[in-house]
Each structure stands twice: as structure tokens, then as C-alpha cells.
């Protein structure tokens, strides 16, 4: 499988925080969802991929090349709108038309209309969610083969997010398009992502197809002795609460089969994140 992005041995440190020897692939034609707690290194990783940050060491290739100064191949939406607050939607469109060789003004205007944003409105007149939508409209209108979204849906209401995800899916209809989507709203990733990468304290602790994760992982709840009876080897993480214990298990079907008396629930991405971040490794 061809990769849109290949990261090998990435190291980046800021004081006592570091990404240490990280490897990551974003397969061409797929959406990779990036999850992790605040400060896990998601934004740093994204900035290193785009070239906004310098890596201490490691290799990053985008479409097979280390040169990231090819205009228009990558579209990026960071966690806050990077467009000038005093510019109107129309001025932004004109600017981007000059900047990007494959700018599609009609698509930009279509997306702006779909998002309900007047081209005459200036960015500072819009809410955070609306200004993020302008940035999304820009990034989906210049023919980018790779779009990177860093918390792009934060600040959007559920209806807008739903509409946004529809647009993401429409963009991904083209096999050449790939996407890296970092989000704390894991339900969005459960809906659209093909792969999930879980970053924890600067290290990737899970990188698997989403469907496999949601199918295999499970949560067992009960008394401590009851839960520990399933064996440490089956438990990824354990969280002790006031009156019960929750365990994240790697293969819920196997656990269910071996311990039919236990209730083994499916694990959402939220469950997995909470149990790994707040629980104790087994």
C-alpha cells in the first residue's frame, strides 16, 4: 500500500516533553484518526509533518518526498483559525486564488454557501466555529491530496459537525485523497476514520484499523477479584473506581467466551482513551 505520509524515527523535544522515535504511516486514500490526551504530542507531530516545526531527528516523507515546499499538495486546518481577522471571505478567496495553482473558486463559494457564511463577512465577525469553517472551505478548495485537520471540529455545533463530516466523506471519494484528523471528539473519528493512531506521552501506543479496534477491544466491569480473574495478559489497562473496577481488554470475544458469566461491553474510542490515560497498565 502506498503511503501519503511516512514518519520514521521522529524525535522532537521541548524541555521535559518529548516525542521519541515515533514511526507513523498515513496510507494513501484513507483517513487516519489521531487521538490522545492534551499534551500527548498530536499538534507537535502535525507541525513536524507540515514543516512548521523542525524535528530534532528522523525522516518525514510526504508523497515520497522530504521537500514540503510544493504549494497546494497539503491542506492544513490547525486548532485555531490562522486567517487574518480583518479579511473578508471574498478577500480570502482572492488571496488563495493567487496563492494556489489549482484554486477552485466555485468550490470555495459552494462550501462557503453550504456553511452559511457570507463572503462579505470578515473573520473577526464570525464565531470560532464559523471561522474554522472558512479555513476548512479553503483547504478543500485548492486540490490538496492530503488534508490535515487538527481539532478542526472543536467549536462546531453537532449539526455543523455532521455536515462537515459529510463533506469530509465526499472529499475522500477520490482515491488519491488522504487525511490525518486529530480530534478529541472521538465519535467523529468513529464515523469517518479508517485507522486510529493513539498517541500517549509522545509515543504511539495503538495504531490499528478502526473497525478492528472497535470490534476487538472491550470493557469488563465488576468487583476487583472478578475482573482480575480474567488474567493480566488479557487486560490492557485497569481503572479502580469507588465500588468497582473497569478493565480494558484486548480481545473481548475471547474473554466473553472464556468467562461467560462476565459482562463484556464494547469499548468506544472514548472508553479506550479514558482507561489507558487514567487507568493503570496491567
Amino acid at each position: 500500500m502506498e503511503n501519503a505520509v511516512e514518519v520514521r524515527g521522529l524525535r522532537k523535544s521541548y524541555g521535559d516533553y518529548e516525542i521519541n522515535g515515533l514511526d507513523l504511516d498515513i496510507p494513501a486514500g484513507y483517513i487516519v484518526g489521531l487521538i490522545g490526551e492534551n499534551g500527548a504530542g498530536k499538534t507537535t507531530l502535525i507541525k513536524c509533518i507540515t514543516g512548521a516545526n523542525h524535528c530534532d531527528s528522523g525522516i518525514i516523507r510526504v508523497f515520497g518526498s522530504s521537500d514540503r515546499t510544493v504549494l497546494g499538495k497539503i491542506g492544513v486546518v490547525f486548532d485555531e483559525c490562522c486567517l487574518h481577522k480583518m479579511m473578508s471571505g471574498k478577500q480570502i478567496g482572492n488571496l488563495m486564488a493567487d496563492l494556489y495553482p489549482e484554486w477552485d473558486q466555485s468550490r470555495y463559494e459552494f462550501l462557503m454557501e453550504k456553511f452559511g457564511i457570507s463572503l462579505d463577512k470578515k473573520v473577526h465577525e464570525l464565531s470560532r466555529g464559523m471561522s474554522m469553517k472558512i479555513q476548512v472551505a479553503v483547504e478543500l478548495s485548492h486540490g490538496a491530496d492530503l488534508v490535515i485537520l487538527d481539532e478542526a471540529t472543536a467549536g462546531m455545533d453537532p449539526a455543523s459537525r455532521d455536515e462537515f463530516l459529510d463533506i469530509v466523506m465526499e472529499y475522500m471519494q477520490d482515491d488519491r485523497h488522504s487525511m490525518l484528523m486529530s480530534s478529541h471528539i472521538t465519535s467523529d473519528l468513529e464515523r469517518v476514520a479508517d485507522y486510529i493512531v493513539f498517541l500517549h506521552r509522545g509515543r504511539i501506543i495503538m495504531s490499528e484499523p478502526k473497525d478492528e479496534i472497535l470490534d476487538r477491544y472491550g470493557v469488563v466491569k465488576g468487583g476487583e477479584a472478578q475482573v482480575l480473574a480474567i488474567g493480566r495478559e488479557n487486560i490492557v489497562s485497569l481503572r479502580r473506581e469507588s465500588y468497582s473496577v473497569s478493565a480494558l481488554v484486548r480481545d473481548r470475544h475471547a474473554v466473553k467466551e472464556a468467562f461467560p458469566e462476565l459482562t463484556v461491553d464494547t469499548a468506544s474510542l472514548d472508553d479506550i482513551m479514558v482507561l489507558i490515560v487514567r487507568g493503570d497498565a496491567a
Binding site: G51, R68, L71, G72, V76, C82, L83
Partner: protein
């Protein structure tokens, strides 16, 4: 040029207000040399202001991420500064000609010969300010360093110009010598800015 156009769109209204302010100040001060230089010096301050605005909305992070070369970003600031210096010089000339009808400002030919001083001083101030900004970042300290650096550079140039004017007795020669010094200062500032901006995380 797209990045320069973006800067000019953003600072368009400030250009108008600063030009009016410069005109009022020149009419009040009635000093020919100040009239040639002041509009350009005031306008070029917008070049470093545009870097601050870019930083406030993380524009550089975005523009770098989509593939714009960092040196291109730095170059755009120097070009913006040069354009502002040119606009300021033109405004200075218009103010000088207007004032010549009210005060004794000499003939138009000598004004045209002297007005490049505005451009030269303006482009030097702009380049030094931009370089100081890239080197020290956005802080109150930056503004002080920028003002002090510009005062030192401009004072040195004016002193040298006055000595040269007395020695040569020809204003054109002085302007040409200043232009040559300006090229060296601008290029040095550009190299320092590129080097600094290339190494920072955005």
C-alpha cells in the same frame, strides 16, 4: 507577490491615516528634510506591524505548512517595507510641493533630488525593524531595541551625509553614497532575518 498583496490589503487603511498624520505633522514642523523623510519612516513601521499581526493569528504557521518557503515569507516583508517606503517618499514629495506654495521650500527640482532620501532612510528603518523583530520576537523589548537600533543607524548616516555633503558639495553624490550603504544594510538585515526565521518553530 501574493504575500505582499495580503500585507497591503491589511494595512491599506493604516496607510491612509498615517499619511494624513504625516502631512499634518510636516505642515506644523515646516522643516524640508523632515518633510522628505517623515512620511516614509512612519509608513514603514507598518511592515513590522504586519509581522506582529501574522504572528497573532499564526499565519506563518499556516503558510509554512501549506508549502510556502520560509525565505519567501521573509522576503515579502522586505518587499512590503520597500513599497511602503516608496509610497511614503511619494507622499513626502507631494507634501513638499504643496508646502512650497505656503513656505519657502526651494524649487521643485531640488525637492525631486532630495526626496530619495525619504526612500533610503525609510527602507533602512524598515529593514532594521523587520530584522530586529525576527531576531528578538514579539515583545516590548523588541520595540525599544528597534527604536534604538534605528536611531543609531539613522544618526550615523545623517552625520556621514552631512560630512560628505560638505566634502563633495553635491547632493546627488551624497544620495548615491547613501543608497549604496542602504543596499548593504538591507541585504545584511535580510540575511539575518532569513537565518533566524529558518530556525524557529512556528
Amino acid at each position: 507577490m501574493t504575500l505582499v498583496r495580503k500585507d497591503l490589503i491589511l494595512i491599506k487603511s493604516s496607510i491612509v491615516s498615517l499619511s494624513i498624520f504625516a502631512a499634518v505633522l510636516c505642515f506644523l514642523l515646516k522643516v524640508p528634510l523632515i518633510t522628505y523623510i517623515l512620511p516614509a519612516v512612519l509608513l514603514v513601521s507598518l511592515a513590522s506591524a504586519s509581522i506582529r499581526w501574522d504572528e497573532q493569528c499564526n499565519w506563518d504557521r499556516y503558510i509554512t505548512s501549506i508549502g510556502v518557503d520560509r525565505n519567501t515569507i521573509v522576503r515579502s516583508k522586505f518587499v512590503t517595507g520597500a513599497i511602503l517606503a516608496l509610497i511614503g517618499t511619494a507622499i513626502g514629495l507631494v507634501i513638499s510641493i504643496s508646502m512650497s506654495y505656503v513656505y519657502d521650500f526651494g524649487d521643485v527640482a531640488s525637492m525631486v533630488t532630495a526626496c530619495p532620501l525619504g526612500f533610503i532612510i525609510g527602507i533602512i528603518v524598515s529593514s532594521v525593524s523587520v530584522a530586529v523583530y525576527y531576531v528578538t520576537g514579539n515583545s516590548v523589548k523588541t520595540q525599544y531595541i528597534s527604536v534604538v537600533a534605528n536611531i543609531v543607524v539613522i544618526s550615523a548616516l545623517i552625520t556621514l551625509s552631512m560630512i560628505a555633503a560638505e566634502a563633495f558639495g553635491d547632493l546627488t553624490l551624497v544620495v548615491l553614497a547613501l543608497a549604496a550603504v542602504a543596499v548593504v544594510i538591507v541585504y545584511t538585515c535580510y540575511l539575518v532575518s532569513c537565518r533566524r526565521f529558518a530556525g524557529i518553530d512556528l
